[in-house]
């Protein structure tokens, strides 16, 4: 049972499809672990559907149905769906499965310090999605985030001055927060990190602790 959830406003925007790309990926990953939020999403989608049905209908051309049926007969259904490739179940939520291999060792890691390694799964300029992998019991020195970062715990757990976090927890950090996370003692901790504005670190360790910042 996860303890840290997206804000209800964020779930509303997720249900409506209007939230930013990075937030939507982080929420999707959280939902994988959190029945409570899935239930809420399902209710928000039911609400959306009622509003959807209550819209004033916009007329479509009389020929629209016929041309759709022509297209259905012309284009065979994509065969990729059923039997093409029986996918091995990924150990990660579906939103990440396409971004990462099943084995972490296949990724290209940077190791800025003994207890921590980091990698980027996606970087399109506006959005950086990465992984932080902390060694069991490892601590990362105190640092501050500038901008918004969302973390979702994928495996293991960690704690910092503000709380402790387990699998599936959804953690928002804004520029004001300073923390020094420490992984739980008994196992490594793997964290998804989503940054939609670059995070800058203050202090002499900035270059180490800010693996997402472009050189």
């Amino acid at each position: 049972m996860t303890q840290w959830h997206p804000h209800p406003d964020q779930l509303v925007e997720f249900a409506a499809g209007s939230c930013r790309a990075g937030v939507s990926i982080a929420i999707s990953v959280h939902l994988h672990y959190c029945t409570q939020c899935r239930q809420m999403l399902s209710e928000l989608e039911s609400t959306s559907a009622v509003l959807f049905e209550q819209q004033a209908p916009a007329p479509v051309a009389n020929t629209a149905f016929a041309s759709l049926m022509e297209r259905i007969e012309r284009e065979p259904a994509p065969s990729s769906a059923p039997a093409a490739k029986p996918q091995a179940p990924s150990r990660f939520p579906r939103a990440l499965a396409t971004l990462m291999p099943d084995s972490l060792e296949q990724l290209d890691w940077n190791q800025p310090m003994k207890n921590l390694r980091v990698t980027r799964l996606l970087d399109d300029g506006d959005l950086i999605i990465g992984l932080h992998h902390m060694k069991a019991g490892g601590r990362v020195p105190n640092h501050q985030h500038r901008g918004e970062e969302i973390s979702v715990v994928l495996e293991g757990g960690f704690s910092d001055q503000l709380g402790s976090y387990a699998e599936g927890d959804f953690i928002r950090r804004s520029g004001k927060d300073t923390h020094s996370p420490q992984a739980d003692a008994h196992e490594d901790c793997l964290i998804l990190s989503v940054v939609e504005a670059p995070v800058k670190l203050t202090g002499p360790l900035g270059w180490i602790l800010n693996p997402f910042l472009k050189a």
Binding site: A16, A21, I25, S28, L44, V50, A58, P59, L68, T98
Partner: protein, 209 residues
């Protein structure tokens, strides 16, 4: 005393609206199953006649037409094509037909809007907003009850809350964008949505608002 009959007439009317809506919901589920089981074209045409104009309205509400006049009709075609092809994955025990079709329309619209904005690295919306019904959640009874409850209570919301709900849920606008468009403080938009949620008695209520 004079008020009593009026109230009972009102609630009787409400009840009959609810039954009608529930019957319609059953009808759309039957149609989807007919499409899935035997590629039933007349059933599909019924679905098309009801949902295509709603999908088009949904496309227009996000301003898709501003990027191209043909796009709202293209969205209708894409969504209804997906309804035809995915009908076998629809499970009436887990979702109402209109919710299922809404989620397909939402995902297709997200993909279309993102393609227009030329984001290169976006994942397909279906990978993020999963369409598969969630087997951990509740069944048909609960699903249709949520929909009836929402439909019933939505009509009782004050106009300002309904208006904000429609914008936030249908128009592909964040709370912030709705606030800017309506020239309202962000906090006002958020609190209208939350008040509406409360009145709809969604479990969102259980969260610390």
């Amino acid at each position: 005393m004079a008020g009593a009959p009026v109230i009972s007439i009102l609630s009787a009317k409400k009840a009959s609206n609810m039954t009608e809506a529930s019957q319609a919901a059953q009808q759309w589920s039957d149609c989807l199953e007919a499409v899935a089981r035997r590629q039933d074209v007349p059933a599909f045409e019924q679905l098309f006649n009801h949902f295509a104009p709603l999908i088009k309205a949904f496309a227009l509400s996000s301003g898709l037409n501003r990027s191209g006049d043909h796009l709202p009709d293209e969205l209708v075609q894409e969504v209804m094509l997906a309804v035809w092809r995915k009908a076998a994955t629809f499970d009436r025990r887990k979702a109402a037909a209109s919710t299922w079709i809404f989620t397909i329309a939402r995902n297709q619209r997200i993909d279309m809007l993102r393609r227009l904005r030329k984001h290169q690295n976006d994942l397909p919306a279906d990978d993020i907003w999963e369409l598969e019904a969630d087997s951990d959640l509740f069944g048909e009874v609960r699903q249709s009850r949520v929909q009836d409850q929402v439909r019933d209570r939505l009509s009782d919301l004050p106009v300002d809350q309904r208006q904000v709900m429609a914008k936030v849920f249908m128009e592909d606008k964040s709370h912030q964008e709705v606030a800017e468009e309506m020239d309202l403080p962000l906090g006002t938009v958020k609190s209208r949505v939350r008040l509406a949620m409360k009145k709809l008695k969604l479990s969102l209520e259980a969260f610390d608002l």
